[in-house]
Symmetry: C2
DNA sequence: AAAAATAGATCGAATGTTCATTCTTGTCAA
DNA sequence: TTGACAAGAATGAACATTCGATCTATTTTT
């Protein structure tokens, strides 16, 4: 008998099933519009199991948050491993975020699009978390190395990543219809070169061809 | 007897008191963590009044949304009235948003920071609303006029406003500690000139400076 | 090897609370 | 007197959480 039912493969461990179901539901409807019973049904699991594993609804959200945060940190960590310039690092992170937005939409939505303060009141805002700090550090290093124009770190960081994050939001909201990866090159260009029509290519760019 | 109690001046009309209280509470705690009773208490109003005026909790949120959206539209409208270049218009809008973020924090937070889909499921995402469309139009016009480099409208719009919106979010989350207006000039500069350290000033800039 | 015992995970009906909404009564201006 | 609005106690539905029963897998005993 073939397993036509693809929704929740019963061989996955219970806690994974719970987290997966919760992620999908939280992103689709928002934390407060999802009941434990919804999660329980979608995960093919009993209410009791959810409480045993995570201690409640908030526990599920928190576990999800920590888990995905760790993956996010690892992604940044990988970029830091490579021997790259600050500018290349920033580009690579943006590239990755764009790709994840297309391939693992809900993960990105949960991390970048959710208002965690409304359901995880004890967590600091995500923009003060390690991965975001690391991103700002990269910008700072680029500035120290004379690669990025000198200036106020907040402004520089927002200028580097603001456009990308904005596009991710628009994409997640369904306002942008095409995959973000199509826009990557051009966005990078606008970010570093500026937007003026008559902006002269920099010496660097001219050398690069 | 002096009115020491400054919280809710009783002379304001009832519906205004309700909206003001709701705005503050929704922004501070999030829509789902605020009960009608909380609003009722903070507004010094009865539950009945809230239902008479707005038909319920969602009605209050919706009325607030429409009201602030209209103000937002008017702000953009004012900028469109003035005879300005596209670039100047964009800058002006950013300037205004920064100022409002400092002086009318909760209004900006409710419009730019809330996840309306989670409590106003019938509203389209705010980024597809008229003011945001107008902002994208300005960018398009700048492109058509040869003022902004040609390119994909989404990318250009995100590049123009992405940094500013990012900074607003950071400020609202309390991550940026100083008033945004301090950063305005530099942000504008980064946005239009790009971020490379050796970016040559454009002919335009050289003339201006 | 079979049976019994133990630990630990899973289950879901029952509980108690929270909260949006209703509805009846009270107030006041015209 | 009437109409419009304000008040807040009462209602009932939705929901997170509890807890004892049930099941499963592993170890111990015979």
């Amino acid at each position: 008998m073939p397993y036509l039912k693809k929704s929740t493969p019963a061989n996955e461990p219970v806690d994974c099933r719970i987290l997966t179901a919760a992620l999908d539901l939280f992103v689709e409807r928002g934390f407060h519009n999802v009941s434990i019973h919804d999660v329980q049904k979608q995960a093919n699991v009993s209410i009791g199991s959810i409480y045993n594993h995570f201690g409640g609804k908030e526990g599920v959200a928190k576990a999800l948050y920590y888990h995905l945060m760790k993956e996010f940190e690892e992604m940044i960590g990988d970029v830091m491993e490579e021997k790259l310039s600050a500018r290349e690092r920033c580009n690579k992170i943006i590239r990755q975020l764009f790709e994840y937005t297309e391939t693992r939409r809900n993960i990105v939505a949960y991390m970048l699009h959710a208002k965690h303060r409304e359901f995880l009141p004890d967590e600091p805002p995500i923009c003060s978390s390690t991965p975001f700090k690391a991103m700002r550090n990269i910008v700072q290093e680029g500035m120290d190395a004379g690669e990025i124009r000198p200036g106020e770190p907040w402004v520089l960081a927002a200028s580097v990543f603001g456009g990308a994050i904005r596009m991710i939001h628009l994409r997640l909201d369904g306002v942008i219809k095409k995959p973000l990866t199509l826009y990557y090159e051009e966005l990078i260009d606008c970010t570093w070169q500026g937007l003026l029509a008559d902006a002269a290519p920099t010496p660097q760019e001219q050398k690069a061809g």
